[in-house]
Amino acid sequence: MSSHNEHKTMTLTLIVWRQKNATAQGKFDTYTAKGITEHHSFLEMLDVVNEDLIKGGKEPIMFDHDCREGICGMCSQVVNGVPHGGQERTTVCQLHMRKFKDGDTIYIEPWRARAFPIVRDLIVDRSALDTIIQAGGYTSCHTGGVPDGNAILVSKPDADYAMDAAECIGCGACAAACPNSAAMLFTSAKVAQLAALPQGKPEAAVRVKKMLDAHKECGFGNCSNHYECQAACPKGINVKFIAKLNREYLKAHLG
């Protein structure tokens, strides 16, 4: 264990957004995280703080998390101004404390966007993302009554392209990072995945229009090509999919 050092621990100052519920006034509170090793994940560091808070009779910091292996998309914290903390292709649950130094001050905030109202502390309501998928992020196939899997050939480049888009975990970091709070990367990933596959082509035109309408109605802003989303995306979803969405939208209107 070259980098393993059991004895070295860090003390950090956390400045955390606390908000009792959706309507309450929120504010920043300051906490100290003690005894943190470089092997703690960011959320495990918060666990340590919460244990202390509970024992001290205070309310722990509420935050969304579930799989803690970077795939469920539940965790959602803006760490020092960047969703998921800014380590490339990493969710905040996979961020480890070795990226921080003893004595650091860390700001922790919830996703901020009109379409993501705060529920409590660091937890926000992301049902707007569901609404966008419900508007058309599917193929209208019935259970049963579909052809053999190999009856639909998909070229390897198309399958790979679709898979690149499909890696989106729906965490909403794109919208949280976007200066306009646009969830265009999220929307485009689904549009592009399905438009690239023969199965999704028949509904491609209707899909892109409906999903974009839902995107707007949910209160997200407009994409203005800053590409901050891609930089913040824990799966590195490429903005070429937004170009694809634009293309699909134009095709839907012109072709």
């Binding site: 901020r112 994409c223 090509n225 590409y227 070429k240």
Partner: protein, 217 residues
């Protein structure tokens, strides 16, 4: 939702109008550059000989400016409404100053266009009042007279800096919005946009600066 209400529809409209204006800016720059080979007066003469086409062209340009500005402002207001609360710490990984200042450089350019039209087209300002009667007249002399004032030069150069910023983000943005980007084309278009933006800045900026510096007189 129709095209003109949708997020992408309006974006496309802005991209196309913006890009047509970029073309205009480039052509205008080529025309203006004739000053360095002493042909600007005959260039102006030639333009004015086109007659009604000049007005068709002017109205088309006006329409583009208005569409671009109208949707630009509308979309920006929507975007602000979508982000009611900012982060306490705001560290951005990718957003450029050019990108985030589009509305400000845009508004600056709108003001500049009004001033520019009053200045060299309508010739309402005092420095060019002497040229108001004769259109196009001695454009070369008019420019030299006008740009011998440091303040005027500053205004023009500042506006061109704003334009350069606007195009830094705007040109690459056009390709993305039209859906012509792939993973490898994006950085290329981005570079292309920056190169064009800088050429525009140097090209336009060189005229007033050259006059002020006495290179053209």
């Amino acid at each position: 939702m129709n095209f003109l209400q949708s997020s992408v529809g309006r974006k496309v409209l802005m991209a196309i109008t913006g890009q047509l204006m970029v073309l205009f800016v480039v052509v205008h720059l080529l025309g203006n550059s004739t000053i360095f080979i002493g042909l600007i007066n005959s260039y102006a003469e030639h333009l004015h000989s086109l007659g009604p086409f000049v007005w068709v062209f002017r109205l088309a340009l006006l329409a583009m400016v208005l569409i671009h500005a109208y949707y630009g402002i509308q979309v920006t207001l929507e975007n602000r409404a979508a982000t009611p609360q900012k982060y306490a710490v705001n560290r951005q990984l990718k957003v450029s100053l050019a990108g985030s200042s589009m509305i400000w450089t845009g508004l600056t350019l709108a003001c500049f266009i009004v001033y520019h039209l009053c200045h060299f087209t309508a010739r309402l300002t005092s420095d060019v009042a002497g040229f108001a009667g004769q259109v196009p007249g001695d454009v070369y002399r008019m420019l030299v007279t006008s740009f011998s004032h440091g303040l005027t030069v500053f205004v023009y150069v500042a506006a061109m800096v704003a334009l350069c910023f606007h195009l830094f983000h705007g040109i690459q943005s056009f390709f993305q919005t039209m859906g012509w980007n792939s993973e490898c084309s994006l950085p290329l278009f981005s570079k292309l946009g920056k190169v064009v933006a800088v050429i525009v800045l140097i090209g336009y900026g060189s005229i007033p600066v050259a006059i002020l510096a006495g290179i053209l007189s």
